[in-house]
């Protein structure tokens, strides 16, 4: 096409640097979706055209139906969601509830957590519609819409653990805002711990210990998975005012100092529980949400018994592993799959070993373009070459891979780029990464089977996130890692 130059705009140049801060962006993509798709494909679970299904929780029923609890207050029962090529049918079981952010099914009854309460929901006349809604606990105060309540599935004793968001996510204006409480099968409510800010999900880790997902904000430099240790303090002191209502617990005698470090304050405030797995901001999500452990027995690929966690803002799924060192929980997180269609709130493994994810993108900035979606990650059966997990050792780390590595490359020290940082532990919102150091790998010992490498490291820093960049590593077949990064939070050195 020919363009007439008369027509081009010739205008003044008034270039100046933009002085104002850009609105918070959702950051760069990992740019790994194309490669990820070879191993985990995204399958759409179609939603009826006239339905708005904003999933907040999932459950699998004994008859292999999928149950969805939604932000709009429905419980939907879905037949066919697990089929290879899903053409599901949806039935509304209950409606009119208040943000269903937790759901279990046991002995014919649903146990749901909504903003107001934990409720047992049953269909007693057998017509396929819920007819009894029994309040098990509404012991917490609720006067602000942002006081979200995230409930676990039933634990082995039949309890539901509920993580209660702060008022407006900053203060604790009402009883038990910023607490975790445990609701027993007979409706008793037992305070577990204080210090929560804004939870996004709750459930057991791969060792069966109850964890929750915390968001970046005051006293939280970044998102993290934390252990809900009874009597513990999760880091945000606004909730201290309700210890009078918790007869079973003692109020911490020391308040944390702001503009400090978690490691420093841990020593002062003995109840402060170190954040087990820190998800560096933007690099690893921006609002981590619902998570679930892969108990599929290998049907979902090589990550059995690992935690899979979604992110609301970035519409990604990540992995995490935890271990207890010197009595303290810590572990690592790893990128897994990006490019989901909406903001993820919940995930659920299916009986076939696929991972259902879903949510909505309303209200906050979200990368996923759709208002709501239910999708499924299916393993294609091809094993990706990935960092499977990282474990702490007294003198370094063991990095385990999903496939044998090329031993020549993997035994070179300079194939492992390590750096560390921590966050400022402070009352202000979030934190930059601070106190950076660069540890040195002094020896890389490849295991005989090539599946793992033992790294001897000079310069481990307790309390820091250790960031791994393993870009040069190749598999024995010469393949590149799908994701080259992983992040280990070293609360304790074994």
């Amino acid at each position: 096409m020919r363009l007439n130059t008369n027509f081009l705009l010739v205008l003044t140049f008034t270039i100046t640097m933009a002085p104002a801060l850009r609105a918070q962006t959702l950051g760069e993509y990992w740019d790994t979706a194309e490669e990820e798709a070879k191993y985990y494909k995204i399958v759409e679970i179609p939603i009826p055209e006239d339905a708005a299904i904003e999933a907040g929780s999932f459950e699998v029923l004994p008859d292999d139906r999928l149950a969805i609890g939604t932000r709009r207050g429905d419980i939907l029962l879905v037949e066919g969601a697990f089929d290879q090529f899903p053409q599901p049918t949806y039935k509304r079981f209950a409606s009119g509830l208040d943000e269903v952010m937790g759901m279990s099914f046991k002995d014919g009854a649903f146990y749901i957590t909504q903003q107001t309460e934990v409720t047992k929901v049953t269909d007693e006349d057998g017509d396929g519609l819920a007819d009894h809604f029994r309040t098990l606990s509404d012991a917490w105060g609720f006067r602000n819409y942002h006081e979200f309540a995230f409930g676990s599935k039933l634990d082995p004793e039949g309890n539901i653990w509920v993580a209660l968001c702060l008022s407006k996510s900053y203060q604790s204006d009402e009883p038990f805002r910023g607490w975790c409480v445990k609701v027993t099968p007979d409706g008793k409510t037992i305070p577990v711990c204080s210090g929560i800010r804004s939870p996004g999900g709750i459930g057991p880790n791969e060792h069966g210990v109850m964890f929750y997902a915390e968001s970046q904000g005051p006293w939280n430099g970044s998102c993290s998975l934390k252990v809900l240790q009874p009597g513990g303090f999760m880091g945000h002191p606004a909730s201290f005012r309700w210890y009078d209502l918790a007869e079973n617990l003692d109020k911490p005698t020391v308040q944390p100092n702001t503009r400090s470090r978690l490691l420093t304050e841990r020593k002062r405030v003995k109840e402060l529980v170190p954040y087990a797995v820190v998800f560096p901001y933007i690099k690893m999500g921006r609002s981590i949400s619902g998570f679930m452990v892969d108990r599929t027995g290998g049907k979902f690929g090589p990550f059995e018994n690992q935690i899979f966690v979604g992110d609301f803002s970035l519409s990604v799924v990540m992995r995490a592993t935890t271990e207890q060192i010197n009595g303290v929980w810590q572990g690592a997180c790893y990128p897994f799959r990006e490019g989901l269609a909406t903001g993820l709130l919940a995930c659920q493994f299916t009986p076939r070993g696929d991972l259902i994810v879903g949510g909505t993108n309303r209200g906050w900035p979200v990368r996923g373009p759709r208002e709501f979606a239910i999708q499924r990650l299916d393993w294609t059966g091809i094993v990706p070459f990935e960092i499977k997990q990282i474990n702490a050792l007294p003198d370094g780390f063991r990095v385990t891979f999903t496939k044998p590595v090329d031993p020549t490359i993997a035994s070179k020290n300079d194939c492992y780029r390590l750096s560390t940082f921590t966050h400022v532990y402070q009352q202000g919102y979030g934190s930059p990464e601070v106190d950076q150091t660069t540890p040195v790998v002094t020896e890389a010992i490849v295991a005989q089977d090539g599946m793992s490498v033992r790294l001897k490291i000079d310069g481990l820093v307790q309390g820091h996130v250790h960031e791994f960049d393993l870009a040069p590593i190749r598999s024995a077949e010469g393949g590149k890692l799908v994701h080259v990064n992983a992040y280990y939070t070293l609360n304790e050195i074994p």
């Binding site: 096409m1 363009l3 205008l11 959702l26 053409q87 809604f133 309040t135 509404d138 373009p369």
Partner: protein
């Protein structure tokens, strides 16, 4: 006699055609004069003056593009061959008054070259339209009744041709407008265009390019199509490495005999050109006797059967599925390359199509659907692209294509017999099949490849012999015509030449047949013949809504990341184009991303950077919204389609486009996309909205860009209409919503009863908080955004009751505040058979059930409430509040008027009192509970 009749018919048809062309937007009663009639009654001078004064150019620009007027269907800048002239040219000469007249009385002055004609053909067909091309043999005519259609009529077929004195432009166009103001807006927009002066003439680009590919490049396409390098290795290694399209591989045959009827395989191998005319598979057995040919093809087939894990199985065709498949075949893009089919399944354009052969003889439905769903697993080279079919669509398409008479043929089972298999394997190698086809794995393939070892390299070939000769012999015979042979010769002569980036693009686009849908520079585009198979979901978008976009200069338009996502990850931005952008595989086409970027310059525009992005974004927000240029009148915003049409989503622009291209496009959309319905808001470089940013086009476009850079986080523009949500009781069942309601805490529970009454219960203070009639509620406040609002009761006659629990201790009542009373505990609710709840709660040891149902009493809705209290032990000194209000008075025994309209009746077993609590009056029932159950019944009418 007959002829007179036909001429009369001709006149009549023209009238009907014209009337149909003007679709009536507004119903008009015969007594009311139409808008056109009313406007015609005024003077053109006065209308012109009013338009100049009170017309709104932006609204006019949008009207110009709407489907009801369809102006752009016939008038488009830089478009050729349309029914009407390019207005930038035509309007430049007109005075204001003449613009008014051109709309109201189109036949008064008809632009030269745009007169319409009526043609009567020998066959008795009558066509009316504008002649766009004419030579001694044919006349090309754009039809009046369907402006999309261009028809060619042979001069010999014309019985009569008459000039028409009536303009092709509809006479009552103004009747499509809502009111007089819209007419003034439209005229104002046309004045703005006229004022901009004549635009420079631009080369038209809507038409299909007429250029053909140079032989040296076409020859390379053929060398690839026929897999010549598989036997004649390419000795010019540098050139080979430089060829960016990976060589075409023949289909993998490992499981061929599972998908394909072995009987068909045998016939095809024996005589490929006959069984599937036009196939790129050569005939390999020209030199064999008939017996040997029979033996070889049978043996090879048995060998292939032995490789297949599953035996071939023919399945039944599902007629309903096939009907859906037919629709898919003719709409998603299959027929861009393959021939469309008529009702009987016969191909209608086989000459210009990629051959399919008789698929009903070849495939089973299951075999074909598997192939269609994942074509690259069998044909990894991507020449047959992945059409992004869902599993179910692939099945539908397979049912259509593999169905038909032949699918009923019983296939003779061919079994794998060991001795035959070994023979087949030998033939497979000896005849050269293994040069092209992968059967098992690469290792065995290498063993089998015997021919390539001793055949001459490409550059060494004698181009008059062997495959390129007419004769047959001990070489593969291809179905080639002379021009194809010449092209191959030209390519062979040129084989050592390095291809530049432009050639690589052309070669790639030709190889993958991108040109069937896309035009780029002087090549390609949707052919007139196939035009009618390109559909849209929304006619308002004009040709852009159905024809795949031109790729001329696409590297200067799209960001590489986006381009890659479109090419490799299947991303698409135009949900309204029914033809799908297929996937060819990253290995095959990803190199285009870099090539486009390197060959196509970004437009040369100078852009002024902003010093205050925040302020600029605010202005951009204003411009995009209703008060500015109203982009959201046509464009989708964050997946929410606009009311008129679903034009490309605004919030994905900045992610897709280069800034420079955006600037250029905005100022002159017609220049870049001739025929687009996108109006120019800066005709001739002058802003229509002069009051924003001093009418500086560059600053205005810059502000929009800065705003769009926010992507999906961009603030919702003004005027974007949210669909209202109404939550209503339906099918005789109550509806509930447990959320925040005004004047109730967060533990409100609303109920909409099927009988047209509604209530909200406060599950924190255990009280009936409000009642209203009619529609239930709009949950938008809690279902939108973060959910920080409240549920808004719809309907009428809303009555609120005071805070504080309904049941309390008479002597020591809780001092009411916003909080939760200390001794009340909500225990849930249960629903009756139509979903009406019974609230349950405790007050100390007392268990309370509170159940309300809707009823009709003397045509008025009534709410009947039954409160049941259960006590283990006797409990005195309780009080139950049944209503509260500014005024309460007794109107009969047990009946009270609360406020102005609420009548409350309490059952005769209970006495009630009116209590003044200072601010409100309360209607209460004092209670002493014996052990066991006590029931209180209350009726509310209002």
């Amino acid at each position: 006699m007959n002829r007179i009749f036909i001429v009369a018919l001709l006149v009549l048809t023209t009238c009907i055609a014209q009337r149909e062309f003007v679709r009536r937007g507004l119903a008009q009663s015969p007594s009311q004069p139409s808008l056109t009639e009313r406007l015609l009654a005024e003077s053109s001078d006065s209308l012109a003056a009013q338009a100049r004064q009170r017309g709104d150019g932006v609204r006019g620009a949008i009207l110009f593009s709407t489907q009801s007027l369809a102006c752009t269907k016939c008038h488009a800048q830089a478009a050729e061959d349309l029914l009407g002239p390019d207005l930038n040219q035509a309007l430049a000469k007109l005075k204001d008054k003449e613009i008014v007249e051109a709309i109201l009385q189109p036949s008064k002055v008809i632009s030269k070259g745009f007169e319409s004609v009526k043609i009567l053909t020998l066959g008795g067909r009558v066509v009316t339209g504008r002649i766009v091309r004419q030579d001694d043999e044919t006349i090309a005519l754009r039809e009046l009744s369907d402006a999309n259609r261009l028809i060619e009529i042979a001069t010999d077929d014309i019985q009569r041709l008459a000039k028409d004195t009536v303009s092709a432009m509809p006479t009552k166009l103004a009747d499509q407008l809502a009111d007089r103001q819209q007419f003034l807006d439209l005229v104002k927009y046309l004045m703005d265009i006229a004022q901009a002066g004549a635009m420079p003439e631009i080369e038209g680009t809507t038409k299909v390019a007429t250029e053909t590919l140079e032989p040296r490049l076409y020859g390379r396409v053929l060398l690839d199509r026929f897999g010549c390098v598989n036997c004649h290795h390419d000795d010019a290694e540098a050139t080979a490495a430089q060829n960016l399209v990976p060589a075409k591989q023949a289909p993998r045959l490992t499981s061929a005999a599972s998908r394909i009827d072995p009987g068909y395989l045998r016939r095809f191998i024996a005589d490929p050109q006959h069984v599937k005319p036009g196939t790129s598979m050569p005939e390999m057995m020209g030199h064999l006797s008939d017996d040997d040919r029979e033996a070889a093809s049978t043996a090879i087939t048995r060998y292939l059967v032995s490789l297949a894990a599953e035996p071939f199985h023919r399945d039944d065709v599902d007629a309903e599925s096939a009907a859906r498949g037919r629709e898919l075949f003719h709409s998603v893009g299959c027929v861009a390359c393959h021939s469309p089919r008529d009702d009987q399944g016969a191909e209608t354009m086989s000459e210009s199509s990629v051959t399919l052969g008789d698929l009903s003889q070849k495939y089973s439905v299951a075999g074909l659907s598997t192939f269609l769903e994942h074509p690259h697993s069998v044909r990894p080279s991507g020449r047959m692209p992945d059409m992004k079919l869902t599993h179910w669509e692939a099945i539908d398409l397979a049912n259509y294509l593999a169905g038909g008479a032949a699918s009923q043929i019983e296939s003779s089972p061919i079994r794998a017999d060991p001795s035959w298999i070994e023979q087949g394997r030998k033939w497979f190698a000896k005849l050269g099949c293994a040069e092209c086809h992968v059967v098992d794995n690469a290792a065995t393939l290498d063993q089998h490849r015997e021919l390539a070892m001793h055949l001459p390299a490409l550059s060494q070939l004698d181009t008059d012999r062997g495959c390129l000769s007419d004769g047959s012999g001990n070489w593969p015979r291809y179905d080639l015509d002379d021009s194809e042979r010449d092209a191959i010769r030209a390519a062979l002569a040129d084989v050592g030449t390095t291809l530049d980036d432009r050639d690589q693009i052309v070669l790639t686009m030709k190889t993958f047949r991108c040109y069937r849908c896309h035009r780029r520079d002087d090549l390609g585009g949707v052919s007139d013949q196939r035009d009618s198979f390109f559909h849209t979901t929304n006619e308002n978008l004009g040709p852009q809504g159905r024809i795949p976009p031109s790729l001329t200069g696409v590297g200067g338009k799209l960001r590489p990341k986006w381009m890659r996502e479109v090419l490799v990850a299947g991303r698409s931005i135009r949900p309204y184009v029914k033809t799908r952008m297929p996937q060819y595989g990253a290995d095959n086409v990803a190199h285009l991303v870099e090539l486009f970027a390197s060959v196509d310059p970004k437009p040369m525009v100078e852009i002024s950077e902003t010093s205050d992005p925040k302020e600029t974004r605010k202005t951009g927000h204003q411009l995009v919204g209703r008060g500015g240029l109203n982009c959201i009148a046509c464009h989708t915003f964050q997946h929410k389609p606009a009311q008129t049409m679903p034009a490309v989503d605004l919030t994905e622009m900045a992610e897709r486009l280069h800034k420079e291209w955006f600037f250029q496009y905005m100022v002159s959309p017609q220049l870049i996309s001739p025929g687009t319905v996108m109006p120019s808001f800066w005709p001739g470089g002058k802003a229509i909205r002069k009051e924003i940013l001093d009418g500086d086009p560059n600053l205005q476009v810059g502000a929009i860009w800065e705003y769009l850079r926010e992507g999906r986080q961009a603030r919702t523009p003004q005027g974007l209409q949210l669909e209202p949500i109404e939550l209503l009781a339906d099918q005789g069942r109550a509806v509930m919503l447990r959320r925040s309601y005004r004047d109730i805490g967060k533990r409100g529970i609303g109920v909409g009863y099927p009988g047209g009454v509604n209530l909200a219960f406060d599950a924190e203070q255990m009280r009936l908080a409000m009642i209203w009639k009619g529609k239930f509620a709009d949950p938008g406040g809690v279902w939108r955004s973060q959910g920080h609002g409240t549920v808004r009761p719809l309907g009428t006659d809303l009555i609120r009751f005071s805070a504080g629990p309904d049941l309390d201790d008479a002597r020591q009542p809780w001092i009411v505040d916003e909080g939760r009373p200390p001794h009340h505990r909500f225990t849930g609710y249960h629903l009756d058979e139509v979903g009406r709840p019974t609230w349950t709660y405790r007050f100390g040891e007392i268990e309370i059930e509170d159940y309300a149902i809707d009823g009709i009493d003397a045509d008025q809705p009534v709410l009947k409430r039954t409160v049941t209290l259960k006590a283990e032990r006797r409990r005195d000194n309780l009080v139950f509040r049944v209503a509260s209000g500014k005024r309460i008075r007794a109107i009969a025994e047990h009946s009270f008027l609360v406020g102005d309209s609420l009548k409350v009746r309490i059952d005769p077993q209970h006495q009630s009192q009116i209590v003044d609590d200072g601010s409100d009056k309360q209607l209460v029932v004092p209670l002493s509970l014996p052990p066991g159950r006590t029931t209180l019944e209350v009726e509310y009418r209002w």
